[in-house]
């Protein structure tokens, strides 16, 4: 199994170094425009938030997988996980708002020892809980086998990455054997009703390219996935979200190592779409880190770019002050504004 950038002492484990790399293109080559200037050209600078619809909470960097493209640099060697006390602070903040959806991510969120308690509390608070489940965690250990049933009981919406409907591409990105385990897990989710018509139990898949290229049209990819997964494995799901890989952390490392960085960035910049820029997810999402920090999105979180607001921790949550902030942007943001746009819920334009 691969190791995280942090465990191998890779320079790119340092967010400040990643930002230096991302800014170099502007300073040295001069051919890539600053993202902020591009937004200004589209009349979107400074970028302001809309009413928050999603609180995305990263409950930790621990994961049973080490995917080549992971922007979190997650893995079994990462020990940063959210405590129950910080979860309680999130619950306190949520209780002051009417944010309808809580999106739990990681790492593998289920590996946090307080994960189930947190889901129960969020559910009791009447919020729609969404879990970004990597699938393989369900079959990784006996103690996780009942996750589909636990999800069903709490009406949790499950969002799961599956980069392709065949083993070769999936395993190249996510590790040997991941495809076979993911298929088993999807069948277990289907067995309790997930993705089945009329069940009300939502199972969405995430497609992201296994390489230095952009995702194609989401609707066409969804049809392909549905046809192939149904035919080959009898698997059903609701929607496919096509997501662009953001040049952060391990994907940034991959781009540099494979000498695709310049070409990829140029592609993202050329494909800048003002409509996608207007619909970026950071405008209606707020992100919380494992230690309670507040960010405009999970990518900014990994780059340690906190919200530009006096309250930068969930314990000081101040909805009114946050509504006044300007969203923090940098060169990686081109990933969310290219082509049909990209967000945790798929395309945006």
């Amino acid at each position: 199994m691969l190791k995280s950038l942090k465990a191998t002492g890779n320079q790119l484990a340092d967010p400040a170094f990643q930002l230096t790399v991302l800014r170099q293109d502007v300073a040295e080559a001069g051919h890539l425009p600053r993202f902020a200037d591009k937004l200004a050209g589209a009349g979107l600078w400074p970028l302001r938030p809309l009413a928050p619809a999603v609180l995305q909470i990263n409950v930790g960097k621990m994961c049973n997988q080490v995917c080549k493209h992971c922007h979190v640099d997650a893995g079994p060697d990462r020990k940063e996980i959210m405590t129950r006390e910080t979860m309680q602070l999130c619950l306190n903040a949520l209780a002051q708002t009417d944010i309808p959806t809580v999106d739990l991510t990681g790492g593998a969120p289920e590996m946090n020892p307080d994960f189930r308690w947190f889901v129960e509390q969020l559910s009791a608070l009447g919020r729609q809980v969404l879990v970004r489940c990597n699938l393989t965690i369900i079959v990784a250990n006996k103690k996780y086998h009942d996750l589909p049933e636990f999800f069903r009981r709490h009406g949790v919406e499950v969002v799961s990455s599956l980069p392709f409907y065949s083993a070769d591409k999936t395993d190249r990105q996510r590790g040997d054997g991941v495809f076979a385990d993911s298929i088993r897990a999807l069948q277990m989710l289907n067995a309790v009703g997930y993705g089945q018509p009329g069940s009300g139990l939502v199972l969405n898949l995430v497609y992201n390219p296994a390489g230095a290229f952009m995702p194609g049209p989401q609707a066409a990819l969804e049809q392909q996935f549905k046809r192939a997964l149904s035919k080959d494995f009898g698997i059903a799901f609701n929607s496919l979200f096509a997501i662009t890989n953001i040049p952060v952390s391990r994907f940034l490392d991959y781009l540099i190592e494979s000498k695709n960085y310049a070409g990829y960035m140029e592609k993202l910049v050329t494909a800048f779409n003002p409509t996608a820029a207007a619909g970026v997810m950071c405008r209606n999402t707020l992100s919380v880190s494992w230690d309670g920090g507040l960010y405009d999105c999970d990518f900014n979180q990994m780059l340690e770019l906190p919200v530009a607001s006096p309250a930068r921790h969930i314990r000081d949550f101040d909805a009114a002050a946050l509504a006044q902030r300007a969203i923090v942007v940098n060169q990686h943001c081109y990933g969310c504004t290219a082509g049909a746009g990209s967000s945790c819920g798929g395309t945006t334009a």
Partner: protein, 110 residues
């Protein structure tokens, strides 16, 4: 110029309008319409383009449609089968002329 084919030139394709704008505009409008979803899917058209790119041996087109077929979710076996279709047609086109050769040989021979 270091080489006849410079990979960076692919990105400058749109610049052909600098010398003749009207035809370039018409060509790119036509090109866009051809590759849109139609009776054939955009994915199918991309695979055809990949095969033709190999038949006409255009390195720019091979670059462009290798990336495009990947983006459209084509698998590597599908992409290689498309190249074999191009090879089979090219090979067949050569071989079928063998009949012409045979006809001529028979015409000239006792």
């Amino acid at each position: 110029m270091d080489t006849y084919y410079n990979p960076a030139d692919l990105k400058k394709f749109g610049n052909i309008g600098e010398f003749q704008k009207e035809f370039a505009d018409k060509f790119f409008a036509y090109y866009g319409a051809v590759f849109a979803e139609g009776a054939l899917t955009a994915r199918e058209k991309s695979l055809i383009a990949l095969a033709v790119a190999h038949a006409v041996q255009c390195p720019y087109c091979i670059d462009a449609y290798s990336a495009d077929t990947l983006e459209k979710g084509c698998t590597e076996p599908e992409m290689m089968e498309a190249v074999h279709v191009a090879a089979a047609i090219r090979g067949g086109a050569t071989l079928v002329h063998g009949v012409q050769m045979m006809n001529k040989v028979k015409e000239l021979s006792m």
